[in-house]
């Protein structure tokens, strides 16, 4: 009978030889064979244990121990080999299921939000977070709401500021979102804090003017609303939209439905206020119009002009969007060319 150390060496050679076999089936067969030869009932280890009988009594324990160690070793090695084999089979099965992860998904086009909608959404979110409600009004309006209640009677020169599409003498396409102010004030008492986004129309068309465009109107009315509030709210809004460092200035202007009226400018985004083509070398860009609600407007809706004061503002969504994305032709917004839309 061989010494356990010699047996171990032989086993090692045989198990390593398995690796040289090709095909998993033969390896698995070889492994089964090896297991039977060494660990089977009549296997080498059994035989070795039996042969202990022939040894002198005092040698038996130590020889038995060595054989048992060898047995454990063989069992461990066989198990390792078995696991290795399983792992290989598993890998092979998965690799046969390989897909090309470098290919794109099925959707060939991705839907884009229209840049005007995106700007509008951001503007609305800012005002809603400041507690403003969102109101709506018809796009086809009465002259009374679009002009007269806003202190713009017929034959007022301010009507020249807005070229109007007429349906009849009394019905027109709203030229601004301001009529929504009137509709809301007719419906409810102060305090009012609202914005009204929507489409407006003017008969004018070129690179910077479109016969249809979008505005957001704002109105805040209460017993204690002053121009200090107007300034604070609009500065807050503009800094949230254009960044916390944005310079803002208010300068006098004229709208028939507000007094005092203001034009609000932001520091030019393109030249750090040094002067460029966009800001016509002034360092400032006109961004919105605002003012304190004119007492005549309150009178038109039956509010007590001594009790209530308020401010209103209106801004052009196209203009802000053109500035933010540096779009130079307003007509691109309505052409709906996917080469344009998918950039946003």
């Amino acid at each position: 009978m061989l010494e356990p150390s010699e047996l171990k060496e032989r086993f090692e050679k045989e198990i390593e030889a398995l690796s040289e076999l090709s095909g998993e089936v033969t390896v698995r067969e070889g492994l089964t064979l090896l297991k039977a030869r060494y660990l089977g009932k009549k296997g080498i280890i059994s035989e070795a244990l039996k042969s202990l009988q022939s040894l002198p009594k005092e040698e038996r324990p130590s020889a038995g121990k060595r054989i048992n160690e060898l047995k454990e070793y063989i069992e461990k090695r066989l198990l390792e080999k078995e696991r290795e084999l399983q792992q290989k089979e598993y890998q092979r099965r998965l690799s046969s299921q390989e897909i090309d992860i470098s290919l794109p998904g099925r959707l060939q086009r991705f839907g884009s939000e229209h840049p005007l909608s995106r700007t509008l959404r951001e503007i609305i979110d800012i005002f809603v977070s400041m507690g403003f409600s969102v109101e709506e009004g018809p796009e086809v309006e009465f002259d009374r709401y679009n002009f007269e209640a806003l202190n713009i009677p017929k034959d007022h020169p301010a009507r020249d500021m807005q070229d109007t599409f007429y349906i009849t003498d009394e019905i027109l396409l709203r030229t601004h979102t301001s009529p929504v102010q009137i509709r809301v004030m007719e419906r409810k008492r102060p305090p009012i804090r609202m914005i009204a986004p929507g489409k407006v129309y003017r008969c004018d068309a070129d690179v910077t003017h479109s016969p249809m465009f979008h505005q957001v109107e704002g109105l805040m009315v209460g017993e204690d609303i002053s121009m200090t509030n107007l300034k604070a709210v609009l500065v807050e809004f503009l800094r949230r939209l254009f960044g916390p460092e944005t310079a803002v200035r208010f300068r006098p202007s004229y709208f028939p439905f507000t007094e005092p009226s203001a034009e609000v400018d932001i520091g030019c985004l393109f030249c750090a206020q040094k002067g460029c083509r966009v800001c016509k070398n002034s360092g400032w860009i006109e961004i919105l119009g605002a003012g304190m609600v004119h007492p005549e407007v309150f009178r038109a809706v039956g509010y007590d002009t001594e009790r209530y004061t308020g401010f209103a503002f209106g801004l052009g969504v196209e203009r802000i969007t053109m500035l933010r994305y540096r779009i130079d032709d307003i007509r691109l917004f309505y052409e709906n060319n996917l080469l344009f839309l998918e950039q946003f």
Binding site: Q108, E113, S133, V134, V140, M220, F250, E259, A262
Partner: protein
């Protein structure tokens, strides 16, 4: 308005750089659009808001500059013997001309200066240059002087050739019926009835405040003139100017409001210049002034100032009123301020408050966040709810690859006819615009389809091979005597050029849009929806459906018919799929919040069946028949199979239904279900005339 710096310097001492002057003006509300260097002078182009007629002159703008820089403002004084006219006194007791004002409302004052023995000729160089700097061309010395005074001092003037005026009368009266006049520009005009005209003893000689007549104009051989300086009601001039389609430098100023007191000064300045440049002699000054300017008083309260623009000290208010030239006194702590004829825009307390804010500078107003109560959530506005819904719908569409389009609200009504839409269809009840920019944009849209088809064509032209667009916008239906019915619509268009793609997608585009529609119904918990074969004339009759909620049609979805594509010049072999629905109706029909049902504790049994029915029978109807069967054990029904062709007779189709049975309180047995399933199959065959496939 173009203003030369050299001219400004005649009124106010100013050495500041042009940019500084420009900034100051802009911050005073007189926005400088541009600064131009021209022949050694600087020209400011100032944009004047309609409320400031007093700034439509170099003097007016100079006055603002003087206020802005806290400098003195100087108007030249009148020399020679013409000064008495300043006070409105006439210098001749028995004038040779009679001035008759028919309606003092329409013309409150008319003055005439008669100058004789002058020589009409070319203007001196300095005068020509000033006019050119301001954008006017030189005509002759007399006319140029009237224009010069208008630009410099703000009041339009007109010179008649005295010897062409008949009857020694000047009358200010409306036109009356069928009146014609040939104006200076050589155009014979028919004037509307209520147009204000200047007449001599026989005929109209000028359109008041707008343009003089040709027959009485100053010519090279004119020696005697009548110089008119008058006041006209702004709204009357504006109406006439609009109706005649005739806008002039004069009408522009008259319709904004001229200074009824200051007009005599302007006439004097002009007279002085005429005598100096053209020679001649002032022989008469006639001043008919029936509607004298009466100053009124405005009560200005400093606590009101505070409420509008924040606190301003009383001293500062007084200082600003002085700067502006408003006379005032104080009574019980209230400023009593007198109005000025040159500032027609200052009529009420709020106007003065604006002036105070303007002269102080808006930058002096501090920033202060309003202190406000929370708004009731019930009162967040209808707009907010709609917006949230639209955001949701838009993101569903974007996730499926559709981009958002925005089109003009206009349409070419001819295109509706091209779609084959017939008389009686509501889409023909479109709102017409009286003054459209183009005739193709003369109507408001009654649908989104036409715009989306145009978008498709644009994109195909740009070589785009997958066009997937949607739009959510209002459409408009005419209602007589009231505002149109505005409805929010959703329109979707899908087109993919036939060519190899990475992943084969066998889904017919009808189902692609149908998925979207089904998704929306699910999202808004609407289950009374139904799809029926479409009756739209522009859709493929066998690949399109009209969409209903209960029995109300809310829109359609389907494939454009080949003739429609031809008529719109869409050249493609691939189907164009479109969808359009009334979103207002969809959102109004939204289902209520669901009530939770306990999760099932017992297993279900599923049974499939296939039934052969007419191709026209809606699959949904089969589902409904099963669902309406009175048994609590039917949990759900779905269509799992559809088959046509082999082994199925012509005109028939096979629909596979999968029915899931479940009981709330026990485990069902196969036998129990077998009986129920049989009865359902019998019901299906009797109700549809169909045949169960074995």
């Amino acid at each position: 308005m173009r203003v030369p710096l050299s001219w400004i310097k005649e009124f106010v001492h100013i050495d500041e750089r042009p940019e500084e002057i420009s900034d100051r003006l802009t911050m005073l509300g007189l926005e400088v659009e541009s600064i131009e260097n021209l022949d050694g002078d600087v020209i400011f182009d100032v944009s004047i808001t309609p409320n400031r007629p007093d700034c439509l002159s170099v003097a007016g703008i100079s006055r603002e500059i003087a206020i802005g820089f806290r400098r003195e403002f100087r108007l030249p004084s009148i020399k020679r013997g013409i000064r008495p006219s300043l006070s409105g006194e006439v210098i001749v007791r028995n004038p040779s001309f009679r001035i008759i004002i028919d309606d003092p409302q329409l013309s409150g004052r008319y003055t005439a200066r008669i100058i004789k023995d002058l020589r009409v000729g070319e203007s001196p160089q300095w005068l020509r240059r000033r006019l050119e700097q301001c954008g006017l061309r030189s005509i002759n010395n007399v006319v140029d002087i009237t224009n010069y005074v208008m630009l410099g001092y703000g009041h339009p003037l007109h010179a008649f050739d005295l010897n062409t005026l008949r009857g020694r009368i000047i009358r200010v009266a409306t036109a009356g019926k069928n009146q014609r006049i040939k104006t200076l520009d050589g155009v014979e005009r028919e004037v509307p009835e209520d147009t204000l005209l200047i007449w001599d003893g026989e005929r109209p000689v000028a359109i008041a405040g707008i343009m003089g007549g040709m027959e009485t104009e100053v010519r090279p051989d004119t020696t005697d003139i009548l110089l008119e300086a008058a006041h006209f009601l702004p709204s009357s001039i504006r109406r006439s100017s609009k109706r005649l389609g005739l806008r002039t430098e004069a009408s522009y100023r008259f319709e904004r409001g001229t200074d009824i007191e200051g007009l005599a000064y302007c006439a004097d300045i002009a007279t002085e210049l005429i005598l100096e440049i053209c020679g001649g002699e002032l022989v008469e000054v006639i001043d008919e002034y029936p509607s004298r300017f009466v100053e009124s008083e405005i009560r200005l309260r400093s606590e009101r100032v505070k409420r509008i623009i924040g606190e301003v000290k009383e001293d500062e208010i007084a200082e600003i009123l002085n700067l502006l030239g408003f006379p005032f006194r104080k009574e019980d702590g209230i400023f009593i301020v007198k109005t000025l004829s040159r500032r027609p825009d200052i009529k009420a307390e709020i106007d003065l408050i604006e002036e105070i804010a303007r002269i102080r500078g808006y930058e002096k107003i501090p920033l202060e966040m309003p202190r406000v109560a929370m708004v009731s959530a019930m009162d967040m506005g209808k707009g907010m709810r709609v917006l949230r819904d639209l955001e949701l719908i838009k993101s569903i569409l974007r996730a499926r690859g559709f981009s958002e389009a925005i089109n003009f609200s206009f349409m070419d009504i001819e295109k509706l006819k091209r779609l084959g839409i017939l008389e009686g269809d509501r889409r023909l009840e479109a709102v017409e615009i009286r003054n459209p920019l183009r005739k193709e944009e003369a109507f408001l849209r009654t649908n989104l389809l036409i715009s989306l088809l145009e978008d498709l064509i644009t994109n195909i032209r740009y070589g785009i091979k997958d066009v997937m667009l949607f739009e959510i916008s209002r459409v408009f239906f005419k209602r007589s005597g009231q505002l149109p019915d505005e409805r929010l619509h959703l329109g979707v268009i899908y087109w993919r050029d036939r060519r190899p793609v990475l992943w084969k997608d066998e889904l017919h585009p009808y189902y692609l849009l149908r998925e979207i529609m089904d998704g929306l119904f699910h999202e808004f918990r609407i289950n009374s929806n139904l799809y029926k074969a479409s009756e739209e004339p522009f859709l493929h009759p066998y690949q399109s459906a009209d969409i209903y909620i209960s029995d109300k049609k809310i829109g359609y979805l389907g494939i454009l018919s080949p003739p429609t594509c031809d008529r719109f010049d869409i050249r493609t072999d691939s189907p164009v799929a479109v969808l359009e629905i009334d979103l207002d109706t969809l959102l109004n029909e939204r289902g209520s919040l669901p009530t939770f049902m306990a999760l099932p504790r017992f297993p279900y049994i599923e049974r499939d069946l296939a039934i052969i029915v007419d191709t026209s029978l809606e699959a949904e109807r089969l589902r409904r028949i099963v669902l309406e069967y009175p048994s609590e054990l039917i949990e759900s029904v779905s269509v799992f199979d559809y088959f046509k062709g082999k082994n199925i007779p012509e005109g028939k189709k096979s629909i596979g239904l999968r029915i899931r049975y479940r009981s709330k309180d026990r485990t069902l047995t196969e036998e129990e279900i077998e009986d129920l399933h049989q009865r359902i199959m019998e019901l299906l065959t009797t109700k549809t005339g169909g045949l169960i496939r074995k």
